[in-house]
Symmetry: C2
Subunit: 334 residues, 2 copies
DNA sequence: TAGGAGTTCTATAACGTTGTAAAAAAGAAG
DNA sequence: CTTCTTTTTTACAACGTTATAGAACTCCTA
């Protein structure tokens, strides 16, 4: 039997509610009474029962995080940082893996998972804005990433286009002219893939270089797909002097494939990625990439979500935030 | 206002408890009644309130997972698999990061976090067995990893010693005679580091090769520490023809450092790791390592924990389980 | 057609908190 | 001292579920 508020009240010789008031920093309590209650709490080792508190107050002090796969390095790092940011503010984060399935993504908006949380950090990859809006409910929801950019939703993201353009300019400045892009998603223009590809095209255009669709290889955002995409280009006889992996694992997969085939990096082909996962620094050669300001993303998305949770009314309009980025020039594309 | 059981009861023309009985698969309910209740549930879109259920039943349907850092690839993969294993059984996992701090590890055993969960999957790195036992409480607790091997606790682990010995034998069979070990923890013999080092020594001994303490480099289990450890050995003029990183990120850091310095891998020095993280397959050269049966670890630790949660009494004796391993021979040490 | 053994259902009381409203105590003003 | 205001404390209900115990049905048997 755990110690309850009632036990504390009895020990301190006050009513149940007075104990509750002390715990909730109610204004009008005599210092002597407060002390007596606190002594009783310390002596009995009382700890508030969160379940009961949640039931009564309707708040759980938990945030939900929906992402496709926690074992992907980018998401693992993001989740870790989000948890720490939330912990600093007295919240806990629970994670739901969607495996990039639409049903799982939409399911996380409702039911058990939603019920357990006061607000959601949501990284949709396949569900569309209308389907999300229809199921969004009234609890706050902050989008992470680029799949859904809709004025109805709050959104914290990165400067995909600008960063991809900056990276492309860097490759061009290094004398590269035929930059292959791997990881494109031909079917979508709004997601991270589309935005980064746009940045790439913009930089080419600004430099007066024609865009060649033959240099763009679609691929799922996994290592093996990155390797396969590069293998495909090589076997098709496509010539290129640089590879831009739309994220780091794609670039690392490509790097691996190039090295296996005896292609010199960066001598013959430069390689660059996007995300600056920990591994990028320690690849051989180390990977040039974009650091998308993950710390800032974590901090601001949790901050925004908690603002919404604390607000009286639901916001009429979504806020869009884009964290700053930084180019990380390393050996693979100096 | 969410739909409650009371609304369902009214709509179906039965009592509150009958609805509860339907939801909990109580045996004695007339099929017609059951149907009526289920229709009402479907029509009203009722969903059980987990908080209220928890308060009344004392069960949360959540498991706790305590680990040092979710952004470390090994832990990220483990967490992902544990969540899936738990989900298959109707449980959710919430993660607490200890940052390898004793206070945080012990803190996770008590207070809020413990309260929210029906049982704990615990990966201690610094806390000692007695301190854990003193705070273990009465809710089930399953240890993961090797830091605490104590008959009082249930434990799911891997075959560290055997696997390290097998890997060492493989290096020896490839003609390597001076195998450097990086990532040792001189202060502890019981943890993963100690067990793997023992396996290494055992294999050397069996092969009649003298152990040379000069080949053993202490290092924190991070990439940069692995790189630094190898750099240290090289700069100290220590000769070696193989590096055994006590985990994969150490080995990958070492691999990186060797390549930067122009040391041929595996030509001059073979490199091997431990864990078989996703990245190991895609390193250049790909990394020879040990796959420690993580799937099996996830499955069995969740299974064991749920057995304990479901059991009438607390077990008198801890059960120790060691998952099988598999050698992954790749390019870095063929 | 009563008696008994099942089966099916229900009223009521918890679980441990917080919110409401009002009572009690203390202080100020006349 | 009263009366009024402000501060402090309290009794009681409520959050939505499950547990207990017993009532009300059904069906069988004698």
């Amino acid at each position: 039997m755990a110690v309850t508020m009632n036990d504390v009240a009895r020990a301190a010789g006050v009513s149940l509610k007075t104990v509750s008031n002390v715990l909730n920093d109610y204004e009008f309590i005599r210092p002597a009474t407060k002390q007596r209650v606190q002594d009783a709490i310390a002596e009995l080792g009382y700890e508030a029962n969160l379940t009961a508190r949640s039931l009564r107050s309707g708040k759980t002090s938990m945030l939900g995080l929906v992402l496709s796969d926690l074992s992907a390095p980018y998401y693992a790092e993001l989740a870790s940082k989000l948890m720490k940011a939330a912990a600093r503010r007295g919240y806990r984060v629970i994670v739901e893996q969607s495996d990039a399935g639409a049903a799982a993504e939409l399911g996380a908006l409702q039911g058990t998972f939603r019920q357990l949380t006061d607000g959601l950090l949501f990284t949709p990859l396949v569900a569309d804005a209308d389907a999300i809006a229809a199921r969004a409910g009234r609890k706050p929801l902050v989008m992470l990433g680029e799949h859904v950019m809709d004025p109805r939703f709050d959104l914290v993201t990165m400067k995909n286009g600008e960063a991809a353009a900056a990276l492309t300019r860097h490759l061009l400045a290094g004398g590269r002219r035929r930059i292959a892009v791997i990881g494109a998603r031909p079917d979508e223009s709004a997601g991270s893939a589309g935005l980064r590809l746009n940045g790439y095209r913009k930089a080419l255009e600004d430099a007066g270089i024609a865009f060649d669709a033959g240099l763009v290889a679609p691929a799922a955002w996994r290592r093996d797909a990155g390797a396969a995409a590069v293998a495909g280009l090589l076997e098709a006889g496509v010539e290129f002097d640089a590879v831009f992996g739309l994220n780091d694992v794609l670039a690392l997969g490509a790097l691996h494939e190039l090295l296996i085939r005896g292609v010199k990096v960066p001598g013959e082909v430069a390689v660059a990625g996007f995300d600056d996962i920990d591994e990028a620094r320690f690849a051989s050669p180390s990977l040039t990439t974009v650091s998308p300001g993950m710390e800032e993303i974590a901090e601001r998305s949790v901050g925004l979500l908690l603002d919404r949770i604390g607000a009286r009314e639901t916001a009429a309009q979504g806020v869009h935030v884009a964290a700053g980025f930084e180019l990380k020039i390393r050996e693979s594309a100096p």
